[in-house]
Symmetry: C2
Subunit: 219 residues, 2 copies
């Protein structure tokens, strides 16, 4: 049985955004002993149309059974495969402030294919210490060590003013994907992936909706 099919090469970005959100619902159902689940139910939980859920599941190559639904376990495995969460990638984190420390202590990343193997900082007072069982090294050492260890992901949690410099060092070290938590527009080579995860993006969506509503209701 071929469980390592390539699957569809591309999926809509909104689909990729929704896929991880199905997982908690699926895991809850699995925990409750349920073996199958319908698009109607999943849609209800995430406030989505059943048809949209079906399209999303089609994108990961899932196959359901009429009247029954989809296998909960197959969906969990299928989504995780699709997102690459069943293969571990090693990451370096730069910037051991509040947020960097929180990410180093976040327990879920191992289930999501991400292992932060070392942290880096420019502050000599921090270098040499350990945070959540990972060593803090000098930022200077990042490029050579990244290259030697074939680290593929760089996480940026430094202040915005230092983000570009850190990104440069990461690219210099052969890092192919940057998870950028700094509110800064990074300039990198075309073949380097940058995913901006700054709080401001998410907060903007929240405050905008709030501002819009209070404007309506105050009329």
């Amino acid at each position: 049985m071929n469980t390592t099919t390539t699957g569809p090469v591309s999926a809509p970005i909104p689909t990729v955004r929704r896929l991880p959100q199905y997982l908690p619902v699926l895991e809850e159902q699995a925990g409750a002993g349920k073996t199958s689940i319908s698009c109607t139910y999943l849609g209800q939980k995430l406030s989505l149309e059943p048809t949209q859920v079906r399209k999303d599941l089609e994108a990961i190559g899932a196959i359901g059974r009429a009247k029954v639904g989809y296998s909960v376990e197959e969906l969990i495995g299928g989504i995780r495969d699709f997102l690459g969460w069943n293969n571990t990638s090693e990451a370096f984190l730069a910037g051991v402030g509040n947020l960097g420390t929180a990410l180093l202590g976040y327990g879920k990343f191992t289930e999501q294919g991400l292992t932060i193997v070392a942290a880096f900082d420019s502050d000599p007072a921090r270098v040499g210490k350990n945070v959540h069982r990972r060593p803090i090294l000098s930022i200077e050492k990042l490029p050579s060590l990244a290259r030697r260890m074939h680290v593929s992901i760089g996480i940026i949690t430094v202040p915005a003013t230092e983000a570009q410099g850190v990104a440069n060092r990461m690219v210099e070290g052969g890092i192919r994907a940057i998870w950028n938590f700094a509110p800064a527009a990074l300039t990198v080579a075309d073949d380097v992936i940058v995913e901006n995860a700054s709080f401001s993006i998410s907060l903007a969506l929240l405050t905008r909706r709030l501002a819009q509503r209070s404007r309506r209701t105050s009329k």
Copy 2:
């Protein structure tokens, strides 16, 4: 001069997502003494088409001058107004773990219209202490205090298993918008805004792109 125009009531969600990302570029330009900026330049910085930038700026009601561009200061003000960042909203944070502590220590929220006034936790060992100059109170007190203080935003940084219970308490306290960092699909009343900011969404976008590329290159 009327500077408090209502502006367009609705904008595409992708636009709202991009708007906060223009700000660091604009602030950098302002810091360098530049008074005007073009869509071409902004687009280059964020890897967007100039036309798309123009559409985004049109959404906030910005007006530029041919050959010159847009006023940097006006754009900064316009974006912040549009996002509601010029009016402060008070927030309660529930869950003083690694992430909750990091958010309490995050300095940028004040510039983004967000003030976290108190933190809540269910762990008696934490209750009574202060974190980043905010008191940690018992989660039991959240509903009544939220109602009394007219707090409009709730930030959830508890484990996924407790997220729904905390959301219920927030809604009970009259909170109208929830910024949810827990990987959990919350069920709330229709008129409550939920913005999911769990790391998994952003990480999925990163790892998916990485998995897709390594699949291509390994062919």
